[in-house]
Amino acid sequence: MRRSSSLQLRGLLLVGVLCFVSGLIWAHAIIVESRPGINDVITGPILEIKLRFNVRIDGARSRLTLILPDGTSRPVDLPQQVSPDSISATVPQIVPGSYHLHWQVLAGDGHITQGDIPFSVATQ
């Protein structure tokens, strides 16, 4: 679908009327360092994950999900946080193919943020 006539027009409408809601996602916690990185190609069979954020993260209320090459998803167990701004995990027995790592974190100040990291596992 076309991105319909942009923010400005809606801004103008707002000046004329009242309410306005925009379709932008709410961003707060952002990744400053990630392993795997976006579009990385790694070798298996063990996947080491480490995501470091710009703020403190409530690891107990955050989640990592691995979207497998066949489209199914698999939750990733998160061990105790080593650092307040990071979450890390190890996934064994990962087969070659294209993956997505979906993350959702709760920041220390209550913001919930999510995102995706696409990556591939190469044949050894």
Binding site: L9, G16, F20, L24, I30, A107, D109
Partner: protein
Amino acid sequence: MRTEALFGIITVVLRAATLIFQSLVIGGIVFRRWVASEELSDPAPSRAEQLGSRLIRGTAIALAGTQVLYLALNTYLLSSSLGFGLGQIVGANFFVAGLVTIAAAVAIASVPARRLRHPGNLVAALSLVVLACGVLANHAFSRMEGRAFLVISTAVHQCAAAVWIGGLPQLWMSLQASGSGWHSNTARRFSRLALLSVVALLGSGIAMAVRYIDSPRAIYGTSYGIMLVVKFLFFLVLVGIGAMNRKLLGSLDRQEPKLLLRRLLEAEIGIGITAILAAASLTSQPPAADLKSGRVSGAEIYNRMKPSWPRLRSPNLGEVSPSSLQATKRAQEAGKPRPFIPFQNTNADIAWSEYNHHWAGLFVLLLGLLAALAQTRRVGIARYWPLLFAGLAVFIFLRADPEGWPLGPDNFWEAIQDGEVMQHKAFALLIVLFAIFELRVQLGKARFRAAYYVFPAVCALGGALLLTHSHALNNIKEQLLAELSHAPIAIAAVLAGWSRWLQVRLPNAQAGLATRIWPACFIAIGAILLNYREA
């Protein structure tokens, strides 16, 4: 519209409401305890005291209610996405801070009226608890470096904003409800406290900006930087109004300056609350220092913003991207999979949108010029300037959504299932109603006084709400470049709204400058729209 985006916007609005109510509660308590404390000698409560305590109670209840909604929404989001039960969520920082805020707000609201009129140490301590919880929901609390420094700076910042902006309605009520005499002392005491707050706000603001903004480029190259500039501009406007108010303090024994002070306070309250909305928008964005990539350069801004001739010829309807809905329907009928439709705008789409903006800009520019002419009372026909709003509404109704009725192949009911299309159609209708209201006001035919406030209220609220949505994910450049031009529109709309408010609320002889500001703001909005570009 995606559900998560809607939840995101609701959360920003709830955070803004929390900050506003928090400021009104704290500012109200400070005012009644320290600023109006000399009025204690009279055993019978004055009207100002009664109204002031009611405002504290009302805003405390509103704060508790807002926090209940915020906790419910965040809990729902977490439980639905993680499959958690309530027991696993209650230990989260936001939940604990929210519960404590609710408890403190309910406790303040439950204090007997006579104690709210002259708050004691307990009520003052409860307001400190509210402040502390407010700081917990801020960037500072979740930072890794310089956390203690940032937490203290944030606490000073929020406290100063509350004392100043949150105390203004109390001062307004004191002036409105009391007889002559004592209130000038109250106003002087408040003025001194407000001045102190201005210094504290500026000092703590600079201290935080040094940590959150790592370079001059981050000021104009990130959403966070832009919103900070917007907030600072509102701060300057507020300081300007405050300075005017201060000048009036010496002549409050006369009716005219007293009335002018009350009206200026109304504008100061409105713009102050708008500045708090901008602050809430900031708390929902990553600080500029955290966003190292995707920043917009000065050259990119210049290329996008440099004046160029408006696009006054539209591309043909057949050139713009075809209806995605119709393509999907055709694929379904043919038993084919849903087609991939790129999200990117084509050159024709961009041309279509720019044409819309430029003609809308012409409407608004002309409207502002006519409104300015109408103020001179020399050209009678200029009073009909609100009709241009109706013309604008028809233009938007016809042109905004080329995929749907009446121009595109999607029928009306299909088209309005898209949230944005529905907004456009609904807004166009509301603009027509708005035009009718204001036309009746201009022609002196409005039956109700309330009709006079529709125009200023809509402008001020529209501008304020426009500020709350600025949340570009990771500073996508295009989004940021659009923000760079709609932030001035929001500021101009807010200033137009409050200057028009002053014109409506003041006798003609006192309204002087206000009558020139709002038409100028519309001219500025028109000019910005005329130079709007998407590529």
